[in-house]
């Protein structure tokens, strides 16, 4: 009966309170006045059935809602106080059952972890982990589109490039290789619309540029987030084979990018992502010998604002500067017995990679361009023991990525070996076979390009 007495006292106090604030229109906004001491003695038991999800534990909140007329219903003696509704309706799913037990008080402290620090931590997670953690909550899921998160990512040192490849069998879906974890990833939802047959031709800032198999249309895509764009049509009417290069206007894709295509007749055009249009910034200078016998098997090299393409007849390199619009030609004699060669780059140095075949022996060699003398100097070779595998066999080599970390596909009639070579350490590594999940067969890799995984690059 003590309880009844307390309740009656309470009724009296609340009635007093209402009389004091009869003038205030909204009864839900009674402020706490220190001069009304009766309120200080509100018994705690009254509010036992507070909303489990409420993180606010203070008396003040309770006092504020005491004025609500519906709460007066709680004062009927004999009836248990009904569940108090949280003032703000919070849409919470499952409750972490541990949030109120004493031993997990420590975890409550984690809530004060500032957002920018959380973003700094998340920006340093491996890519696959980042995608797993998108399931944590809506906020983490939308980090990809957050400007501040994008800035955090830009501050983290560039990881090794990944490789986006197209397999012979599934020409419409890509397989991505992560060299740090030595893992192949097979995205379930393809980055590109499935009706297109496109081949990756160049990449910069986390974006990969694709050209359809008929050399007609260009597409740009971020393979990680599937951000995708088809570029407007070019002005040429004849769809001949072209070499393609892409450069960034600034430090990241968000500042814009330029894509150049060039054909054997010296025709070229540059796409500017900021205007979303193609321009013809002039004609190739007359010092470039035409027809331009471009080596279409070679991947383009981009260093800063310059693009480098391999040519033959005469052997050498042609370069284009996106900023000045100037074409330059460098005549560089090719090493003898060279085939399936491609340009590559590492830390601003231009490299050449190719097969050297002498009699029945084949070897993969690496040369570096000596800028002063314009000669190729051999700097490394694939270990002999690996080369022996190809002895006497007809081997074809395709470059699947040429930025700092080289990936090569070596094919003979019965096998397809994949290797990577790190220009900075000189290490050759074998790449595990590309096997589809729940599959057994190793996929044959047709072509590919290296790209720097960037979560926030938008096409």
């Amino acid at each position: 009966m003590e309880v009844l007495a307390m309740l009656r006292q309470l009724i009296g106090q609340v009635k007093q309170l209402l009389e004091l604030h009869a003038a205030s229109s909204s009864s839900s906004n009674i402020s706490f006045h220190p001069q009304t001491p009766p309120l200080l003695h509100l018994p705690r038991f009254y509010f036992l059935n507070r909303d489990e999800n409420s993180a606010e534990d203070s008396c003040f909140n309770i006092i504020m809602t005491a004025g609500k007329s519906e709460n007066l219903k709680m004062l009927e003696p004999g009836k248990p106080p009904p569940k108090k509704k949280a003032r703000k309706e919070r849409n919470r799913g499952e409750v972490t059952g541990t949030s109120h037990s004493i031993e997990n008080l420590d975890q409550q402290i984690w809530k004060e972890f500032p957002e920018d620090l959380i973003e700094a931590v998340v920006a340093r997670l491996p890519i696959a982990t980042f995608f797993r953690f998108r399931l944590v909550c809506h906020k983490w899921n939308s980090m990809l589109t957050s400007q501040s998160f994008s800035e955090q990512c830009a501050q983290v040192p560039q990881p090794q490039p990944w490789f986006y490849t197209i397999t012979h069998e599934n020409v419409n879906t890509g397989a991505m290789y992560d060299p740090t974890l030595k893992k192949w990833h097979h995205p379930t939802i393809p980055a590109l619309p499935t009706k297109l047959i496109v081949l990756p031709v160049a990449s910069a800032g986390g974006l990969v540029c694709f050209l359809d198999i008929g050399h007609r249309s260009f597409y740009v895509c971020n393979p990680l987030t599937r951000s995708f764009k088809e570029l407007p049509a070019r002005s040429v009417k004849v769809w001949s084979r072209v070499a393609v290069g892409i450069t960034l206007c600034g430090k990241s894709a968000s500042e814009g990018y330029n894509i150049l295509w060039v054909g054997c007749d010296g025709e070229f055009e540059v796409y500017n992502s900021r205007n979303n249009s193609w321009d013809r910034p002039g004609t190739m200078s007359s010092n470039i010998k035409l027809p331009l016998a471009l080596n279409f098997k070679s991947q383009t090299v981009s260093i800063g604002s310059k693009l480098y393409f391999m040519r033959s007849d005469p052997d050498g390199i042609v370069s284009y500067d996106m900023v000045t619009g100037v074409w330059k030609q460098f005549i560089i004699p090719a090493p003898l017995h060279l085939s399936d060669h491609t340009l590559a780059e590492c830390g601003g140095r231009i490299m050449l990679v190719g097969l050297l075949t002498k009699n029945a022996a084949t070897c993969v060699c690496i040369w570096e361009l000596q800028k002063m003398t314009l000669l190729w100097k051999e700097v490394d070779r694939m270990p002999n023991i690996w080369c022996l595998e190809f002895y006497g066999k007809h081997v074809r080599m395709t470059c699947l990525g040429n930025k700092g970390l080289l990936m090569l596909s070596l094919r003979s009639r019965q096998m397809n070996r994949l290797v990577t070579y790190d220009f900075s350490t000189g290490k050759w590594m074998k790449v595990p076979g590309c096997i589809l999940p729940r599959g057994r067969k190793r996929q044959w890799i047709a072509c590919g390009t290296a790209f720097h995984p960037c979560l926030t690059a938008v096409a």
């Binding site: 972490t96 620090l117 340093r124 797993r132 944590v136 893992k183």
Partner: protein, 166 residues
């Protein structure tokens, strides 16, 4: 009159923790902290740090002293120090990164954030929610959709997921 002191008189500062304990430190080393640098420019020599407790401050001073003597030749040594420095409990790391953030010591913030990321990268989504006190605000349908988008990230390496929340 020649000044005969053998060692140059280095300017010293006093850092005071939230528990009122004081620590003397060379100014040249202390200014690795942007916050302290600003206060020095405003002519403070006694720097109160009400957001940093004594234990954490001691560790931070140790870090700054080590990084203060960085030269071209002892890079490896400093790398080793950094590796050992982050071998601490979750709670200690948390206190450190909050303090480093408050003190604006960029290299330490980067080091600690990377250490955190490495600590949590193999944890399950549920464990992450517990650690950061984040309730799940996905409906089952939304969850299934997000899961499907990046199924490859979830399926591969399932064996290595750590479910502990510490």
């Amino acid at each position: 009159m020649a000044s005969s002191s053998k060692t140059e008189q280095k300017k010293m500062l006093i850092l005071k923790s939230s528990e009122e304990e004081e620590f003397e430190i060379e100014e040249s080393i202390a200014v690795q902290s942007g916050t302290i640098k600003n206060m020095v420019e405003d002519d403070f020599t006694l720097i109160p740090l009400p957001n940093v407790d004594t234990e954490t401050l001691i560790k931070i001073i140790k870090y700054m002293k080590k990084h203060g003597e960085k030269t071209k030749s002892n890079e490896k040594d400093i790398e080793e120090f950094d590796k050992e420095f982050v071998k601490k409990s979750f709670t200690e790391l948390k206190e450190l990164v909050l303090a480093a953030n408050y003190l604006h010591i960029t290299s330490l913030i980067d080091l600690l954030c990377q250490a955190f990321a490495d600590r949590i990268k193999n944890k399950s989504v549920k464990a992450i929610r517990e650690i950061f006190g984040i309730p799940n605000d996905f409906t089952p349908e939304e969850e299934a959709e997000v899961y499907e988008q990046h199924k490859w990230a979830h399926e591969e390496g399932k064996e290595h997921i750590d479910h502990s929340a510490y």
